[in-house]
Symmetry: C2
Subunit: 389 residues, 2 copies
């Protein structure tokens, strides 16, 4: 089996972009190709993550269209959709193809616009997002994703005594990290008081517990060990990927706070990488809501079950802490252009493993983990990257 | 490298289905599992093709939802969208994973509803389909897919003298085949006169040149050679898959009638299977419009360029002819539930290779080919299956 490496990375700023999806993605993709030091002719296949441009922009069959725009027409193209885990799923398949020797060098990326640049206002976009909940059993209740994660988090508060202040501490941490990231949508600090004063969106989440709607794109070039050895930029090895699902709808979950698909995916990824959670130096996790980060760091084994809320308050997961989580600002402050999020996590982590993360750098990081979740916490992809320090 | 086999097949009738996507797919999937003689516990991964349920039914993150409905929650799930080539793309990735030894047994299928059961009327659904044309360069012109393939076919008529009567002969042939297929949406004969008397949809296509809007699902179980040897049902080997793209939009194509992605995909598939077009005993091709079948059989090398129209008139591509094309009735008569179409082609061909195709049986068929096309003729997947006769 070949060893897959990330050999080039690129991403746009996350925020508001008027440019069409093709051009938005091209900006990230050309940066990734330039970073790798390869031209488009080297790319043998294109893996695209895009969750909802059919619904939000009337734009489908997007992978070949983007490939054509990039000058890659001819290569096999595939679009993945798995709600918020969309581009991590594309990444997994790209890595598996390289591992199997089916391709030597491939392009993987994600793109999405979720702001009013699509022509949709926030209530309409909220409905588009909600299409990822169960069509028969959940959508008719009017629930949307703040409500889905609100239910999971409310149960965590009931079981473990997690507090609104602890939730707010996650937002404060990630906003703080975001101030160090030029690409982040929110570059401003917040405070526990400001979070707790913000309006309720869905119990227990207030506005500042929720990630924003964002436009953006991210791309990575994945190659085998031989190609990676010849590349100009530092490469990082993809040493483990786990991918698991959980029952849908929420009402059928055995344990609402376990996010079982994350535990299963993490187990697979740790085993493949031959490491444990204690070996991870830096992580990007799926903090679509503050409560989601708390569930994630427990599922990943960074803290004991029930200790996730305290971790944010005590600085365990802050830059400089025992296990820095979401140094990019996370979905909460960096932004969450759905189909781009999974790859953007990998861009951030690659920069840490290369020692190129600037003010956000986790010094000496050699092992990094990305956790990307979709739907009713029902899909999770966990990827582990390894660098040379 | 392992040898991938199709070890079980199932599909619903194509037509109008009131049942939700989960249940519609389950019907096909359980038939495929039963046919293979395996239970759900054997399935290691689930590959779903679904082109547009986000737009048409407000239903996304569908792969894990369907997996959960089937009792498969836990396994990695992925949804593919590549316009009308959607489920062939899913099939390719399933086969590659089995070939690489990443999985031993997987479930692959497609499901879609395109009729008024979705709540959308024909004009709205036509717009949903049109999202697969170029968002900036084509959609603003008002073109939809009858127009896209009408342009390609008009050029073929100009270059090769193809006539409306020849187009009609494709419809007559495929309707005739459809009368032998209980699962077909249209089980009635038509005539050249009836086709030519039907109203114009987009020059040169009349209503009877166009495939219908359909609901349906299809599924196959794919396994490696060891598992296949232990299965109850006859298995067929997947000996070649080609997958290529072409430039988008149409205006940038070098040759409008070549459907270059089909030629490239066919070349790859023939090379992998170590056969040529003369070795193919039966084929299912993407006849979304009568003209599309003519372009397809030329691109696949079944007839010389420019001879596709004559082939239908002369019976070359009819059951009993030199190379029977679309014995199922094709998209034209069997129906075209977008995301299910690619897998349904493989179900039909598997039945021929097993000698189980009933009145439609191509006697002694050992090599079968599926051609599934998406978007502006810009994605094509060609799959070659081999059986024991």
């Amino acid at each position: 089996m070949h060893q897959a490496h990330i050999v080039g990375v690129g991403m746009t700023d996350f925020g508001v972009h008027e440019t069409p999806l093709t051009e938005l993605f091209a900006s990230a993709a050309f940066d990734a190709l330039d970073d790798a030091g390869v031209g488009g002719a080297a790319i043998e296949s294109f893996y695209l993550g895009n969750a909802m441009s059919g619904q939000s922009e009337g734009d489908t069959h997007l992978a070949p269209t983007i490939a054509s725009h990039l000058g890659l027409a001819g290569v096999p193209c595939q679009r993945y959709e798995d709600a918020c885990a969309t581009s991590s799923n594309a990444f997994k398949h790209a890595v598996r193809a390289v591992e199997a020797g089916q391709h030597d060098v491939v392009l993987v990326g994600g793109v999405e616009r979720c702001t009013t640049t699509t022509g949709l206002e926030t209530p309409e976009m909220t409905s588009v997002f909600a299409s990822a909940s169960h069509r028969q059993y959940e959508q008719p209740t009017g629930i949307s994703f703040p409500g889905v994660f609100g239910l999971l988090t409310t149960r965590h508060m009931h079981e473990h005594g997690t507090t609104e202040e602890q939730l707010a501490a996650v937002a404060v941490k990630n906003h703080g990290h975001g101030t160090l990231n030029d690409r982040a949508q929110f570059g401003t600090e917040t405070s526990v008081e400001e979070v707790l004063d913000s309006p309720i969106v869905a119990t227990p989440f207030r506005l500042f517990d929720c990630c924003p709607f964002s436009d953006g794109a991210a791309a990575v070039v994945v190659a085998n060990e031989d190609v990676a050895a010849d590349m100009e930029a530092d490469s990082v090895a993809v040493t483990g990927i786990g991918h698991a699902t959980d029952v849908v709808p929420l009402a059928e979950k055995e344990d609402l706070t376990a996010t079982q698909s994350a535990r299963d995916a993490a187990t697979q990824a740790y085993e493949a990488a031959d490491i444990g959670p204690e070996d991870v130096d830096v992580a990007e996790v799926h903090d679509c809501f503050t409560g989601a980060e708390i569930l994630a760091i427990e599922a990943l084994g960074f803290v004991e079950d029930g200790e996730g809320g305290k971790a944010a308050v005590e600085g365990t997961t802050a830059l400089g802490g025992r296990i820095p989580v979401n140094p990019s600002g996370g979905l909460k402050a960096k932004g969450h252009p759905i189909g781009a999020t999974g790859i953007a996590q990998l861009v951030e982590l690659t920069e840490h493993l290369r020692g190129e993360a600037g003010e956000r750098q986790v010094d000496g990081a050699t092992h990094a983990l990305a956790h990307n979740l979709g739907g009713d916490a029902a899909t999770t992809v966990v990827s582990i990257l390894e660098g040379d320090a």
